[in-house]
């Protein structure tokens, strides 16, 4: 979190509290895209994400004057978004997600790698692959159950620190790290398969 962003948040909160006309414009400018993205990554459905975003902004406007400045504004609004989305998911039948266990690395009884290992780390440095890779990372992220997905999106995609993510989700830092690691292991495995097989086809 940059100092500049923090300052912007402070100014925004101040105008929201006062009900200043520019407050809402600023809120939308800074957070509309972010909130929609976060809602989409949890809900994976556009109309659900739109409704959730409406709820999030309603809550922010309603509670701006009672917001305690003891956490950063962005982490407050992210937390509202995560809670709103998880509440919505709770009411629904969960989308089928792939079992993460099937895609963990496999080891022999002696704890050695059981499958061959392709080194694609150099290959993906080519910028020409960026769009395709981005699409695949998003696709594999969507396959994760929301427990892993939210953590991966906040920490690795949005670039928040583990501490920040822990605060937003109300979890401990070790819990965040463990989920993040499993999500990465899954994505690494899927990406390896894709680069080995899928792309050839």
């Amino acid at each position: 979190m940059s100092a500049e962003r923090w300052k912007e948040d402070e100014a925004l909160l101040e105008s929201l509290r006062k009900g200043a006309p520019g407050g809402v414009d600023e809120l939308l400018r800074l957070y509309q895209g972010k909130i929609f993205n976060l809602a989409m990554s949890i809900l994976k459905n556009e109309s659900d994400a739109e409704e959730a975003a409406q709820d999030v902004f309603m809550t922010v406007i309603r509670k701006a004057d009672t917001f305690q400045g003891n956490s950063a504004f962005y982490s407050w609004i992210y937390r509202i978004c995560v809670n709103t989305c998880l509440m919505r998911l709770r009411g629904k039948r969960r989308n089928e997600t792939v079992s993460i266990e099937e895609f963990m690395p496999v080891f022999t009884d002696q704890g050695m790698h059981a499958s061959p290992m392709d080194d694609w780390s150099k290959e993906v440095e080519r910028d020409a692959l960026n769009e395709e890779l981005g699409r695949m990372i998003r696709k594999y992220t969507e396959e994760l159950s929301e427990k892993y997905r939210v953590v991966f999106v906040l920490s690795d995609v949005e670039g928040l620190s583990n501490e920040e993510t822990a605060k937003i989700l109300g979890l401990t830092v070790p819990a965040i790290k463990s989920r993040l690691h499993r999500a990465r292991l899954y994505l690494r495995e899927q990406l390896s398969r894709y680069l080995r097989e899928g792309k050839a086809g």
Binding site: V24, F57, G111, M112, V124, I137, L187
Partner: protein, 171 residues
């Protein structure tokens, strides 16, 4: 350290929270184990790429959704303070009505015994209220806007001290 242990420690390795001795051990394993080296490199490449490709991974808000959301949020922001004001006005009206009812009940001798007791002990301690209610009982006339602000706040305080389940007025 074997390959499996290494794989499960990679997150610590990359966020630098790893104990230096373990780190040395891990580095030593990497130096002699090709699969682990590849595993580590690709794990790192995934993390790097995820951060770099953020724009491709994130969902962009479709223009029509953005437009609808903007309209909704602007309307909500305008309506909200109005709603709050309406609500507060309503609460205030209700409270004035209740206080007036109570004052009327005092003059008509229709307070419940619990409320009468509260009122009595308050008036014994508060000359302002004692004077006001004594005068009121004599004249029996309630003016518009009665009781004055100072008395009203005392009466509201009194109403809040009535134990739950107790009634203000005689049935």
């Amino acid at each position: 350290m074997n390959c499996k242990e290494l794989a499960y420690m990679l997150a610590d390795y990359f966020d630098r929270s790893m104990d230096p001795r373990l780190r040395e051990e891990l580095d030593a394993h990497l130096a002699m184990c090709e699969p682990c080296l590849v595993f580590t490199k690709t794990y790192q490449a995934l993390s790097d790429k995820t951060r770099l490709l953020r724009r491709h991974i994130e969902y962009e808000i479709p223009p029509e959704v953005a437009k609808r959301l903007e309209t909704f949020v602007r309307a909500a922001a305008l309506k909200y303070p109005e709603k709050v004001r309406e609500y507060r006005d309503q609460v205030e009206r209700d409270r004035r009505e209740k206080v007036a009812d109570l004052v009327r009940a005092v003059t008509a001798g229709k307070l419940s015994s619990a409320a009468a007791l509260l009122m009595e002990s308050h008036c014994a301690a508060c000359p302002e209220c004692r004077e006001y209610f004594d005068a009121l009982r004599k004249t029996g006339i309630l003016q518009a806007g009665d009781p004055p602000e100072g008395i009203r706040s005392h009466v509201i305080g009194l109403m809040q001290t009535l134990p739950p389940g107790e009634e203000f007025f005689l049935a």
